[in-house]
Symmetry: C2
Subunit: 196 residues, 2 copies
DNA sequence: CCTACCGATCGGTAGG
DNA sequence: CCTACCGATCGGTAGG
């Protein structure tokens, strides 16, 4: 039966995705059951299927929303008028900012994209690969401009992205160091490490 | 353990742990069933319980063997006769080496320790916290010696450990860059970034 | 959005 | 190391 997409079902769906994001973050995709999710929403598990096609669709929404967000920002950085290394710094700060302000979505996407079903998995990986290639090209331009020391762009991007992702450990246990100082120290170490 | 020893001459239990490490790495702890594991060994799932007490015991073995290994190396570094920043470099290179030569165990430990049952989980976390504290202290000493710039030791350790952990992405997709060059570039970026 | 229920799969046990 | 099984839980469906 064809169901008209009303404003009500849209907002309900958005609400479901939001709660799912929180649960996926807390317990992981596989360990979160549709019964867990339904319970948090105060309904029965079977009722979820009036709003979403299945568990897969929730993960899909989270991961592809993130991919779109990252791609849009890359576009911005590429067209900004500044030096190559300033572009790289913008990206570093953007990724740190995402870990601080959109932590749950980023975390779930980083960890649980593996559970996407084909052909979505291939699509996601292709987008991710393309993103890293654009990032690498910006690093390469900074190397050619003499603003970054002679390192392989892939190695630089890998070091940056994984260092930033490590903020998830700080999120789990914010010690005697503030978010601001962590961001400044990490930018300091990474940018100084890259510079010529 | 001697390299000439093949899987078949190892004790049955050791062999089970070895295959479990491979499967946990490939599919994750939760997604690996005792039936998967038994199938790889050519026996029935029920037969596994003649050698191990349960699925938990396999994860326990992997995680605590790694913890012991890391602690032993930290002991070595702390007692080595060299400068503070040389100690930090030794640790960076050790962690990179572990990602390259003991990849599956390290990866499983990093990702799946969350599935340890209490009281093992608390024990593991306490060991990890203590290890990071020792690491931080070495960084702090290098800062006090004027060999490392003014950054919060926690931020430095977080940046180092997470950057190194990122080698898992290289492992999944070794591109146009060799393990050796990746190690050298990462050490270059991190150490230059830390230095005064 | 509900009740009622399905087939599949899980970790693990009994008993040989 | 096996056969035979257990209770629990899963994602999802039928039909209202």
């Amino acid at each position: 039966m064809a169901k008209a997409v009303t404003e009500k079902t849209l907002s309900r769906r958005t609400q479901i995705v939001s709660v799912a994001t929180r649960l996926f973050h807390e317990k992981g995709y596989n360990a979160t059951s549709m019964r867990n999710l339904a319970e948090q929403l105060g309904i029965e598990a079977a009722s979820l299927y009036n709003h979403i096609s299945g568990k897969d669709a929730l993960l899909q929404q989270i991961c592809f929303d993130m991919a779109t967000h990252y791609n849009a920002h890359m576009e911005e950085v590429e067209t900004a008028s500044c030096t190559a290394i300033e572009r790289v710094e913008k990206l570093v700060r953007f990724h740190i900012g995402m870990m601080l302000t959109h932590f749950e979505e980023v975390y779930v996407t980083n960890r649980d994209w593996k559970h996407l079903k084909e052909p979505l998995l291939a699509n996601f990986l292709q987008q991710r690969k393309a993103y890293e290639k654009r990032f690498s090209r910006l690093v390469e331009q900074a190397v050619l401009a003499g603003e970054i020391q002679a390192v392989h762009p892939h190695a630089a991007v890998l070091t940056i992205l994984s260092a930033v992702r490590g903020i998830e450990f700080w999120q789990r246990n914010p010690r005697n160091i503030s978010a601001e100082q962590l961001e400044e120290d990490m930018v300091k170490i990474l940018l100084k490490g890259l510079r010529k």
